[in-house]
């Protein structure tokens, strides 16, 4: 009578890694003026190879708004591990970033996935608070975790 309870448990743990490391991305300094088809790259600090990308933020358009807000369309944030492997990919058709308060939000769709694509989370409407590293997805949250048989904990 082995229930597969911990498959979800295992997934949550991996997802947390994805979230904690990847969702910091929108709060990273990015373009602050009007721009189209932009890309902003952040590199690892020394002593790591300083040409090693830590994250890459891209978008189709950014539009500054009063109050320190920045609208980013077709947001795509990629994060990388220290060895250059993809760690997480975050996509949002539109996102408003509050530069003063360090918050990113949208009423639209949000997609997160691990670098290998085996963990995927999506939902509608989100708020990311940089100060306490807190992400809320407000509606229709769907998480998919793919685990190979070798990862089965047998539970």
């Amino acid at each position: 009578m082995k229930m597969k309870w911990s498959s979800a448990v295992r997934v949550l743990s991996v997802f947390a890694v994805l979230f904690v490391s990847g969702a910091r991305g929108p709060a990273q300094p990015g373009p602050v003026g009007h721009a189209r088809d932009f890309t902003s790259v952040e590199y690892y600090d020394a002593p790591l190879n300083q040409t090693q990308m830590k994250s890459r933020l891209s978008g189709a358009e950014t539009q500054p708004l009063p109050g320190g807000l920045l609208v980013i369309k077709q947001l795509k944030l990629e994060t990388f591990t220290t060895n250059g492997s993809p760690q997480a990919i975050i996509k949002a058709p539109e996102c408003t970033y509050d530069m003063q308060n360090g918050r990113a939000s949208s009423a639209g769709h949000l997609q997160l996935q691990s670098g290998d694509g085996k963990i995927r989370v999506e939902g509608d409407g989100f708020l990311w608070r940089q100060d306490d590293s807190f992400l809320t997805i407000s509606n229709h949250v769907h998480t998919v975790i793919e685990t190979g048989p070798e990862m089965n904990t047998g539970l």
């Binding site: 009578m1 082995k2 229930m3 597969k4 309870w5 911990s6 498959s7 979800a8 448990v9 295992r10 997934v11 949550l12 743990s13 997802f15 947390a16 890694v17 979230f19 904690v20 969702a23 910091r24 085996k118 989370v121 939902g123 306490d132 590293s133 807190f134 992400l135 809320t136 997805i137 407000s138 509606n139 229709h140 949250v141 769907h142 998480t143 998919v144 975790i145 793919e146 685990t147 190979g148 048989p149 089965n152 904990t153 539970l155």
Partner: protein, 195 residues
């Protein structure tokens, strides 16, 4: 051309066999909070966890995530918790409770992994042996057994009999509600499937 057979051919065949498909787990909910500082994930509203061997539904699911990563040490499922699972032999188990707390830890090389069901109405476990209920049901996953604490009672689905304690009056079998047994403080029921 000779047809290859035997262990060597089988080994070759195994080598060439396509890898088994990945196991896919889905978690759906109305909303979710991911607390990076508190290291918790909270799914709220119509929570559904499903994979090929297990379905779980509840109103709220909170997982504590170790800061160093790895398997969560504690998961709490709350409100109308229903777990349906199927083991490798195809036997199904239906578990209900108001709250289910999953605990995992390793102490002195010994793995402790339990799911403790509590709440009102009484948690229940229903499988091929029958339906068992108690105030507290602990599913010892490491040892594949159940422990029932407080107001234990069981109704067998196999012979339609009602288990009673001799200290109690004869059971009224026309009453669909199973009588409670003057059970010891706890009852351990190892429900491991026969090999």
């Amino acid at each position: 051309m000779a047809v290859t057979a035997g262990p060597a051919a089988r080994a070759q065949s195994d080598t060439n066999a396509a890898p088994p498909p990945p196991r896919v787990t889905h978690i759906d909910s109305d909303s979710a909070d991911f607390d990076g500082n508190g290291h918790t994930v909270t799914y709220c509203g119509h929570v559904r966890v499903s994979d090929p061997a297990m379905n779980l539904t509840c109103a709220r699911l909170v997982a504590d995530l170790p800061e160093a990563g790895g398997r969560p040490s504690r998961i709490v499922a709350e409100t109308n918790v229903v777990i349906d699972s199927t083991d490798s032999k195809g036997q199904t188990t239906h578990v209900t409770g108001d709250q289910a707390v999953y605990i995992y830890n390793v102490q002195n090389g010994v793995t402790n992994e339990t799911v403790t069901l509590t709440g009102n109405p009484q948690p229940q476990v229903k499988n091929a042996q029958g339906t068992m209920a108690a105030d507290v049901i602990t599913w010892d996953r490491a040892n594949n057994g159940y422990r029932f604490i407080g107001n234990y009672h069981m109704v067998s689905d196999q012979n339609f009999s009602v288990m009673t304690d001799t200290n109690l009056p004869p059971a009224n079998t026309s009453n669909l509600a199973a009588p409670k047994i003057n059970s010891p403080a706890s009852i351990t029921n190892n429900l491991a499937a026969p090999k």
